[in-house]
């Protein structure tokens, strides 16, 4: 890894740990804002306990002067606000790393190589509040929280030699309406924290962040927000959902923004009602979406099947979390692949997509709607807790690249000639009328049916209709399958090829590039489309790899199983389901181990 100390390039990994509900996330969010203001790119990873208060939260931030591939492996600066956090998450700190700890709460045992900075946050913050007690109304003073986060922020910024001016400006903007006394208290708190660190810094080396000149339109977004904006860009105008971690933010974001676009949002009584409403809205002609996580998707399975059988365009986002059953609601996983692929009684067509990065959440959401409309079936869009909550800086997407597809509807002539909603066609796609269209009336249904939609169950009809419905997926593969496969790395024969999907892309990219830099021949194929599976490009890829690594974050190796269903290739399955993402280090070790075989 390139040296992170005293170079003009910034690449610092911070990890903040503390008790949930006590300001760790707020401090992290403040730090993120400051780094972004300094022109740095950031990438975050957060892991929370399932409760509202209590338990430990960990917030990792990587700040870099240029695009950030992942949230980083070894931690450079650990900010520990309590001893539980330090115990649970402290082992990620480099041996020669920096520890900034809240000395009011605990004192860590010194460790050789590690440089410790103490910061009595509560004591310092209380003193700041005390200093303004005569300048503030008694009522306001009672409600005024001691500025612990600002003290922490000042210390953190000074630790990495970041300028304090942006923080001062931010404080002014934030607290202006509370009065000059509050503004001054917080600015003083900022400097107090900074000074306290400065006093201890003499003779010690610390990592540094260097401000960067950057375009003003850079945005800081997370995966849930990108997915939501992609849906709106694709023309989604009806959303129904039910709160569930980590998907709730999507519903909350859309509740605010969708009405501005003339859309409707309903918080349903449960996930079963939510997907039912989406089916009704889509049947009526409006692009509809719901988002949930494993337990909610389980409830929706019956109606996903209905949408497949009745040929209703529908987007269902699954923001995967640790399972099974209630599982680990605030942790990440890739454990719902089987649910997305197989979760249905009997067989009906569904498309499965997986977003691979925060930015990709935007584009894959748009594709989800386009495929749902073009092939008139449900699309399950897989994301996960990592991407959902990961903040990244990036230029806003080039909106001129957005392409929107709408369902094929019957012409007036086709309807006048005798409309058959489920007409058997070469592509499998039959034009779909919308209520209100003259001579277009039909009954959409989950019962097996003939071309007009009337119930029927002869063997001939069953064969014809099943073939028609699944032919649509063949058409998708033929028309667009290759677009959803991305390949990097060395061309031609390689020692190790990696096949993966979803959020593991960033750790794999970093690991593969590191291995390649050391001379290994490595290639990486990442799938955005899981069903129908683009078999040909995968087989072509597999043919040139001496070893194939299939890494995924689930217990039984679900992608590995899915690949085995389709092709006869040997690979090394590397799967674990522990609630946290892969470190690029561990992927790198797998690559080098396989290359050595």
């Amino acid at each position: 890894m390139p040296s992170q100390i005293a170079t003009a390039q910034t690449d610092v990994v911070f990890r903040l740990v503390g008790e949930s509900g006590e300001g760790t996330v707020s401090l992290g969010d403040l730090a993120v804002k400051m780094f972004v203001t300094l022109g740095l790119d950031i990438c975050t990873f957060q892991t929370f306990p399932a409760e509202i208060k209590g338990g430990t939260v960990m917030y990792q931030i990587r700040a870099r002067s240029g695009p950030v591939p992942s949230e980083g492996d070894a931690v450079d600066v650990l900010v520990a606000l309590n001893d539980e956090g330090f115990d649970l998450f402290g082992d990620g700190l480099r041996e020669d790393g920096i520890l900034l700890y809240d000395s009011d709460v605990f004192t860590p045992t010194p460790s050789p190589g590690r440089t410790d900075y103490s910061l009595p946050i509560s004591t310092l913050a209380r003193a700041e509040k005390d200093a303004v007690r005569h300048s503030v109304e008694p009522e306001q003073l009672k409600r005024l929280p001691a500025p612990k986060n600002i003290v922490g922020l000042g210390a953190l910024l000074r630790l990495v030699n970041a300028p304090l001016e942006p923080a001062e400006q931010y404080i002014r903007d934030l607290f202006e309406r509370k009065g000059e006394a509050i503004v001054q208290m917080n600015i003083s708190a900022l400097h107090t924290g900074a000074d306290h660190v400065a006093e201890q810094a003499a003779g010690h080396r610390t990592p540094r962040v260097f401000p960067v000149e950057r375009a003003a339109d850079i945005v800081t977004v997370n995966g849930n927000q990108m997915l939501s904006m992609g849906a709106i860009a694709a023309g989604m105008r009806f959303y129904a959902g039910y709160p569930i971690t980590p998907a709730s933010e999507i519903m909350e974001y859309l509740a605010k923004e969708l009405p501005r676009f003339g859309g409707d949002l309903i918080q349903a009584e449960d996930e079963i009602a939510a997907i039912g409403m989406c089916i009704g809205a889509s049947y009526a002609g409006t692009k509809a979406m719901t988002a949930s996580s494993g337990p909610g998707i389980s409830l929706m399975v019956e109606q996903i099947n209905l949408a497949g059988q009745a040929e209703i365009p529908l987007v269902i986002a699954d923001i995967q979390r640790g399972g099974a059953s209630t599982g680990m609601p605030t942790k990440t996983s890739q454990g719902d692949l089987n649910l997305a692929l197989y979760g249905v009684h009997n067989e009906s067509p569904r498309i499965v997509l997986a977003a691979s990065s925060v930015e990709d959440c935007f584009w894959t959401a748009i594709e989800a709607f386009n495929l749902a409309e073009a092939y008139q079936c449900p699309v399950i869009l897989l994301s996960d807790q990592t991407l959902a909550t990961r903040k990244k800086t990036m230029p806003p997407p080039d909106l001129s690249r957005v392409r929107v597809v709408n369902r094929l509807t019957p012409t007036a002539e086709e309807r006048a000639a005798g409309y058959r909603r489920y007409k058997d066609t070469e592509t499998g796609i039959s034009p779909m009328s919308i209520p209100g269209m003259a001579q277009g009336a039909y009954v959409g249904t989950g019962i097996e049916h003939d071309e007009t939609g009337d119930p029927g169950y002869t063997p001939q009809l069953a064969r014809q209709m099943k073939q028609k419905r699944f032919r649509k997926l063949e058409t998708l593969l033929r028309e667009r399958g290759e677009e959803f496969v991305r390949v990097w790395g060395d061309p031609g024969e390689v020692e190790v090829g990696i096949i993966a999907f979803g959020s593991t892309e960033s750790a794999i990219r970093e690991a593969a590039e590191r291995a390649q830099a050391e001379g290994y021949k490595v290639a990486h194929l990442h799938l955005r489309l899981l069903n129908p599976l683009p078999v040909e490009p995968i087989q072509e890829f597999a043919a040139r790899c001496r070893h194939i690594l299939v890494p995924e974050l689930n217990f039984t190796g679900q992608l590995a199983g899915w690949l085995r269903v389709h092709m006869d290739i040997k690979f090394h399955a590397y799967h674990k389901d522990e609630g946290i993402p892969f470190l690029s280090n561990e992927i790198y070790r797998q690559i080098t181990m396989l290359a050595g075989k």
Partner: protein, 297 residues
């Protein structure tokens, strides 16, 4: 209501598909009354969607020339709500049986009442599960097992020794949930049924019409004769807007009142709230995706 420019006759709503119901099924009477009620309201069939669940009565959308959606068991109300929310100008009628609506579908009822979309729910109540060939439903009236009754072994197949649970009072439940229009009818009194159905369709808000529609094949207890004996018209002097009096009427044990039992005008609706929300933004510049991203700078 989306009405037609010309007057539609009842036969104009009748599709070519022959109903799959047994001879003597009460649903025939309901279907004919529906054709008549739609004609009375002059609904434009192409602007009308009939949503159903699963069961004999849920096959009904296929027998009408309107648009329709034959969904899964118990989920007709959410699907219908989605249709109406997306296209408020369409006429939306929901049909199904007592099993579909009061058992697996029961959880959606109170929330539909809360949201109050302008849809009409027509329940064909035969106090049994017919399509699955004779099990008790929440409205079945088989005596309790502890009373050691004689139960026809060919009929109540999952409760051969007698019912294990109490049956529900759907009208009382609907009033408790403040469903905006609650009425009961009887398939063997077709004119009254058509009139009540037209009232339900015309009523703005979530309207329930529960129709006794005997199943001659699987329910030999609640027959046409049984209902002729045990139903009575809602008294002339009953004020359906009086919720307490409506409740009393629903709780009577001497028979089942037929007619409008509860009616609430002007109840706020989800769709009104959404229209108001959209109006709020009408004077702002048009929303764009660029503007969304600007907020994340």
């Amino acid at each position: 209501m989306a009405t037609a420019p010309t007057q539609f006759a009842p036969k104009d709503y009748k599709s070519d598909l022959k109903p799959i119901w047994c001879a003597g099924c009460g649903d025939f009477g309901v279907l004919n009354a529906l054709y008549k009620a739609m004609s009375l309201c002059n609904l434009d069939p192409e602007q009308t969607v009939i949503v159903s669940g699963i069961g004999c009565s849920s096959r009904l959308p296929g027998f009408v020339t309107t648009y329709g959606f034959h969904g899964v068991h118990g989920r007709a109300l959410p699907i219908a709500t989605g249709v109406k929310a997306a296209r408020p100008e369409l006429n939306v009628i929901v049909v199904g049986g007592d099993g579909d609506g009061y058992s697996i579908g029961a959880g959606h009822f109170p929330h539909c009442a809360r949201r109050n979309p302008d849809i009409t729910y027509l329940i064909m109540n035969n106090n049994t599960y017919g399509l699955t060939k004779g099990q008790v439903s929440p409205t079945s009236m088989v005596p309790l097992a502890s009373l050691n009754p004689k139960v026809d072994p060919k009929r109540w197949k999952t409760t051969p020794y007698g019912m294990m649970e109490n049956s529900i009072n759907p009208i009382a439940q609907a009033i408790a949930w403040d469903v905006a229009f609650v009425a009961r009818a009887f398939s063997y009194k077709p004119n009254q049924l058509a009139d009540l159905l037209a009232q339900a369709i015309r009523h703005k808000g979530f309207s329930l019409l529960d129709v006794f529609s005997p199943c001659p094949t699987f329910n030999s207890d609640q027959t046409e004769e049984y209902y002729k004996d045990f139903t009575f018209d809602v008294p002339e002097d009953h004020d359906p807007t009086d919720r307490v009096k409506a409740f009393e009427l629903a709780l009577r044990t001497d028979g089942y009142p037929i007619g409008v039992i509860y009616k609430r005008e002007g109840k706020p609706s989800l769709l009104d709230e959404q229209a108001a929300l959209r109006n709020r933004f009408v004077s702002e510049p048009p929303a764009t995706v660029e503007a969304l991203f600007r907020k994340f700078r």
